[in-house]
């Protein structure tokens, strides 16, 4: 049985309207698009407000005056809309970029460098292991931009290795692309399930 719940109908309308955006631009899609933008921005503000309230304002009312500093920094972000005081927003930006860079960079050495290298120390006793180690080396050569030998006797073979690296990466990208198709199919199937089961009452 087709649903009689008005909210299910609204949901179905929005689902179909956004899908038509892929076909061509139309007023229903434009309407849905604007609703999405507004609702998403609204949701952001609501969620952010909860955070500001929970950490900042409640901290302040509990007597930790120091919370005033990050609150002021947060407000200072908004000076970027003023031509004259845009420089004030550099302070919070500097803080965020400092924390962000520090938090990310500190983990990279172990996470994405030493541990990855150590795991590539494979015993070369099978085709797969040899292929694995060679692939890592060949692809890494592709990412060398400077400090390459100028001597043609060395530069030429290095060029071949670099090209081989590109070939191997293209293979990996093909697989990655197929994986994305699978994800998108899985995601969209969820919407079809909603339309079929909840809205049209089939299945």
């Amino acid at each position: 049985m087709i649903s009689t719940d008005p909210s299910i109908w609204i949901m179905a309308f929005f689902t179909i309207a956004i899908t038509t955006l892929a076909f061509r631009d139309n007023p229903a899609a434009k309407f849905a698009e604007h609703t999405f933008l507004a609702a998403q921005a609204g949701n952001y503000v609501v969620m952010a407000w909860r955070n500001i309230n929970q950490i900042g304002i409640s901290g302040l009312t509990k007597g930790s005056i120091i919370m005033l500093i990050p609150l002021l920094f947060g407000v200072a972000l908004y000076t970027r809309y003023s031509k004259r005081y845009i420089w004030v927003s550099r302070y919070p930006t500097a803080l965020m970029v400092g924390i962000g860079t520090g938090v990310t960079v500190r983990g990279f050495v172990e996470f994405q460098f030493t541990q990855q290298i150590v795991d590539t120390f494979k015993p070369m006793n099978s085709f797969n292991n040899i292929f694995f180690v060679v692939t890592v080396i060949v692809c890494l050569v592709y990412f060398v931009y400077s400090l390459t030998p100028q001597n043609p006797a060395l530069a030429k073979p290095l060029g071949y290795i670099s090209t081989a690296g590109r070939y191997l990466m293209m293979m990996a990208f093909g697989a990655s692309m197929a994986n994305t198709v699978i994800t998108r199919v899985g995601q969209y199937a969820g919407r079809i399930m909603f339309l079929l089961y909840n809205w049209l009452g089939l299945g």
């Binding site: 899908t19 952010a48 292929f131």
Partner: protein, 214 residues
């Protein structure tokens, strides 16, 4: 001169000190650094929460301007946009985001929209696959071939009949792809560490904007 210190030098020093503190906390066993780092992170979370409103301010400014211009039917969309925006904020902040009213408007309005927006990329993907993923070179041949194998191997109808597809898929994913992506990851790792150096030591200042005649 002094404006330059206030407007550029101090922010650069903040970035440097804060970044170094975060790095120090990770590698060193010094209790006082840990304490400062913890409050700094809390500040960071708080400022990120403020940053989430930046987009909204931009939206309000842009759409108010659209309403003032009154071009065609365009301004009607802008009015609707602002209405929805303020309804969400009104209910969400007024009644709380855990309230049933907010759940209701989320579930009927934002959930289907957000739930369709990203998945609908599927259609763009399909037409890109059909139109642009052409075998123009031997590199593209490899790209298309592995893509085709993974696609078919993930279709149980076919994969159940041809077990070799499963083995090929496992080899591509666990050996070829893992190795190639590992090389890219090591590259990005080194690149990011170096970019960290450039940002923390002030060689890269894009995030602060240009120097406006300081």
């Amino acid at each position: 001169m002094s404006t330059k210190i206030v407007r550029r030098t101090i922010p650069l020093i903040i970035t440097f000190l804060v970044g170094m503190l975060m790095i120090g906390e990770w590698f060193l066993n010094i209790a006082s650094i840990d304490m400062i780092a913890e409050s700094l992170r809390q500040w960071g979370v708080l400022v990120s929460a403020f940053a989430m409103g930046l987009g909204s301010v931009n939206i309000v400014i842009r759409n108010t301007r659209r309403i003032q211009k009154r071009e065609g039917t365009d301004w009607l969309y802008a009015i609707w946009l602002l209405v929805v925006f303020f309804v969400f904020i009104g209910i969400g902040v007024g009644m709380g985001s855990a309230s049933s009213q907010y759940q209701y408007i989320y579930n009927t309005i934002l959930q289907p929209l957000s739930g369709t927006m990203y998945p609908a990329t599927l259609f763009f993907l399909c037409s890109a696959i059909y139109r642009t993923f052409r075998i123009r070179s031997s590199q593209a041949l490899l790209f298309v071939a592995t893509g085709a194998v993974i696609l078919v191997a993930n279709a149980p109808v076919v994969a159940a009949t041809f077990p070799i597809l499963q083995t090929t898929k496992a080899w591509i994913m666990d050996v070829e792809l893992t190795a190639a992506y590992r090389a890219i990851l090591i590259g990005i790792g080194l690149g990011t560490i170096m970019l960290g150096f450039r940002v923390l030591f002030g060689l890269e200042q894009t995030h602060l904007g240009r120097e406006e005649g300081e």
